[in-house]
């Protein structure tokens, strides 16, 4: 790599010409020196060992069949995924009302695509999101506008995964900002409360938090009150997301030079305005990569809700795989679900990279 750059620099007599790159031959690239040769052989061996997997996944696989017994031949049984697709994606949601979760997923996708460009960010977009979330919850729950009521115990599949990830991050973010500001504040009580909350939640595994929310909380609530199971799960995820986001944001806050606040003070800008318009925007820009990381972790964390009996996509696929008609296609269902998670998480990280480069380009301008 370094020689390549040197060549490129040396061969630039006229800056208007595109840089001339010296190309190594393919063989040279693969077997040029001892390290490359070893790596090439190792990778080759690895690829060769993948052949049975490829055979299983593609060549011996059964893609379509109506007879589950045909699937016990040894190849992957993708026909099972085809047959169970509806159940894995929508879980126990009533099939007649299936258009509602489908629409919810459409709204989520549209809202996300619509909020990608930072140019559109603002108070109006936040209101729109709040409105969209209310619409989505009404769509899922029904009971008004002639929609058949569907209790949350019937919600399931991908919409649950998306809603839990989205709402826990969305509701957690404002809390996180307060916790982060609280932790850096000069007021001792606010600081102590923030530190206590963050350290307590970070010190607990999410599984523990989910158990507390789903088992202990109902026992502790005053008699006569019960909160919906899905609501409790969401609360646990939100608290968890808030604690981790708070630490990420605090990192960003520390990176903002104190001169910025002092300058704002000198100009007579009130404290909270300085925080909202000067400190926070700079702080958040600095922490896009770790924020992305937390977002991805939270998307995947939603799969843990299966231990408290919420029918997310992963639980639905596990239940689907226990159907005795099919020869236990656990691997296929896990691969399928993993693929969906990968697409979501890859999308997030790709977007974050783009956003980062934009922000950087702007700050260099």
């Amino acid at each position: 790599m370094s020689t390549l750059n040197m060549d490129a620099v040396g061969a630039l007599p006229n800056p208007s010409l595109p840089p001339r790159r010296t190309r190594k031959s393919f063989v040279q690239l693969l077997f040029g020196d001892l390290v490359s040769a070893c790596l090439t052989v190792a990778v080759g061996a690895l690829l060769l060992s993948m052949v049975p997997v490829l055979n299983w996944a593609v060549f011996d696989a059964i893609w379509t069949t109506n007879d589950p017994a045909a699937c016990s031949q040894g190849g992957a049984c993708w026909a099972f995924i085809v047959a169970k697709f509806r159940f894995i994606i929508f879980g126990t949601y009533p099939p007649d009302e299936q258009w509602r979760p489908l629409l919810v997923m459409g709204i989520i996708l549209a809202m996300i695509l619509g909020s990608l460009s930072p140019r559109l960010w603002g108070a109006r977009l936040i209101y729109l999101w709040v409105f969209a979330v209310v619409v989505m919850l009404v769509l899922m729950a029904g009971g008004v506008f002639g929609l058949e009521p569907v209790s949350t115990s019937k919600w399931g599949g991908l919409p649950i995964t998306l809603l839990l990830a989205l709402l826990s991050l969305g509701l957690g973010f404002p809390f996180a900002i307060f916790l982060a500001l609280g932790r850096r504040s000069n007021l001792p009580i606010a600081r102590m409360l923030s530190v206590l909350t963050i350290e307590l939640v970070r010190g607990l595994p999410l599984v523990g938090l989910l158990f507390v929310a789903s088992i202990l909380l109902p026992l502790l609530l005053p008699a006569g009150w019960s909160i919906d199971k899905l609501g409790r799960t969401l609360a646990a995820l939100t608290i968890f997301a808030a604690a981790y986001l708070a630490e990420v944001i605090r990192g960003g806050l520390q990176g903002v030079p104190s001169g910025q606040v002092e300058a704002a003070k000198a100009l007579g800008i009130p404290g909270w305005k300085a925080v909202a318009h000067i400190v926070l925007p700079q702080a958040l820009q600095k922490v896009i990569p770790p924020l992305t990381n937390t977002a991805i972790v939270m998307v995947k964390n939603t799969s843990l809700v299966l231990i408290v009996g919420v029918f997310d996509m992963l639980s639905a696929s596990r239940v689907a795989a226990t159907d005795p008609m099919w020869p236990a296609p656990f691997v296929e269902s896990y691969v399928f679900v993993a693929l969906i998670y990968f697409v979501i998480c890859f999308g997030i990280s790709h977007y974050a990279r783009w956003l980062e480069s934009r922000v950087q380009a702007r700050s260099y301008r």
Binding site: S72, A83, K84, R86, F87, F90, G91, T92, Y93, P94, P95, V133, V134, L137, A141, S151, T152, S153, K154, L163, L167, L171, F211, S214, I215, P218, L219, L221, P222, A223, G224, W225, S226, I227, D228, K229, L230, G231, R232, L234, A235, T238, L306, I307, V308, G309, V310, F311, S315, R318, V319, A320, T322, D323, P324, M325, W326, P327, A328, F330
Partner: protein, 340 residues
């Protein structure tokens, strides 16, 4: 007060949360006001409680809950199911999140004493061994020196050791840390026998063997668990309703009343049958139900035998033998109480 304020804040924070006031009064009123019975369900145990491709809950436990829904509303679809994990199920019942807990729950002293009441056993379960038929082994005493695939950390691990010590069989436990690996090891010939709950063995045999008839299942010891739906302490009427909904299923089988012949049975001369079907009134009213509640249950779900066959028995992929779950009159443990 602080708790309530906190509650309100939590409610405002998420529209997904819905608060429902749990009446201190009888469960029946609450259920009628809600318009459905809410039951705890497993997270997918085929044959006992699992949603099908359309998300419709099926299974023996699930149908027990549906029977109660029929008794109250005359409609088996007026039942809702909340999937619960093993740890969640009892708190969920105690806090009023669910009305009945039919979820492969073993009747034990500790559970009974600590806040829940058991109704009527709907399934008797034993720990079993599965071996290849070609080995000629048909009972535990034949198993001297056999290797047994067992899942670590399960109660069956204890059973293997107990049986081996008691009968001096010198069994070799081959321990695996997850269910799938345990089963795969058995079918690939890694060990001579597989041990787990008999119903689970039946489902494994049905789903994962190339030919189910090549394997036999027999009990590992003389102990048996009674899987029994439970209700909360403190509502005797509700306990009665659940009890007698299950009894209706058992009695129907004893009287020979099936889903198919129930309308002919309405003209039966047998006074017991007449009282059962509500031709002679009294039974339903005593429980606070419709006098035809037993008729409705059998009309919509069949008798216990039909329910068993459909979900776990001969007409299901699991093909579990009735065994101890036959009526007492056929040599089983199911005992219909006097229905009058």
């Amino acid at each position: 007060m602080i708790m309530k304020t906190w509650m309100m804040a939590a409610l405002a924070a998420s529209a997904m949360m819905s608060a429902t006031a749990v009446h201190a009064g009888p469960t029946l009123d609450k259920v009628k006001a809600r318009g459905s019975v809410v039951c705890g369900a497993s997270q997918g145990t085929v044959g006992f409680g699992a949603p099908d491709d359309k998300g419709y809950w099926k299974g023996l436990d699930v149908e027990t809950c549906r029977a109660v829904a029929v008794a109250i509303f005359g409609d088996k679809d007026k039942a809702e199911f909340v999937p619960l994990s093993g740890q969640q199920r009892i708190p969920a019942l105690q806090t009023g999140e669910i009305d009945i807990l039919p979820r492969t729950l073993t009747w034990t002293l500790q559970r009974d004493a600590n806040g829940i009441n058991f109704t009527t056993p709907t399934y008797y379960e034993f720990t079993g061994f599965m071996v290849a038929k070609s080995s000629g082994v048909t009972k535990v005493e034949d198993m001297t020196g056999a290797s047994v695939c067992v899942q670590t950390g399960s109660t069956t691990e204890v059973v293997v050791n107990d049986v081996s010590t008691r009968l001096k069989l010198e069994l070799n436990p081959v321990v695996f840390d997850n269910v799938a690996a345990t089963r795969q090891a058995f079918f690939s010939g890694r060990c001579d026998a597989l041990i787990t709950d008999a119903s689970a063995l039946a489902s494994v045999r049905a789903t994962q063997s190339t030919n189910a008839d090549d394997y036999v299942i027999f009990p590992a010891n003389k102990y048996m668990d009674a899987l029994t739906p439970a209700v909360r302490h403190g509502d005797d009427q509700w306990l009665d309703i659940v009890n007698w909904s299950i009894q209706a299923l058992l009695n129907a089988e004893l009287y020979g009343i099936t889903q198919a012949n129930i309308d002919e049975m309405m003209s039966s001369d047998d006074p017991r049958v007449k009282r059962f079907l509500g031709v002679e009134p009294g039974n339903g009213k005593a429980l606070g139900l419709d006098d035809k509640f037993a008729y409705n249950i059998v009309k919509q779900l069949g008798n216990y035998g039909e329910m068993f066959d459909r979900n776990v028995g001969a007409n299901s992929p699991l093909k579990i033998e009735r065994g101890p779950n036959r009526l007492f009159s056929d040599g089983g443990l199911m005992f219909p109480l006097t229905f009058q």
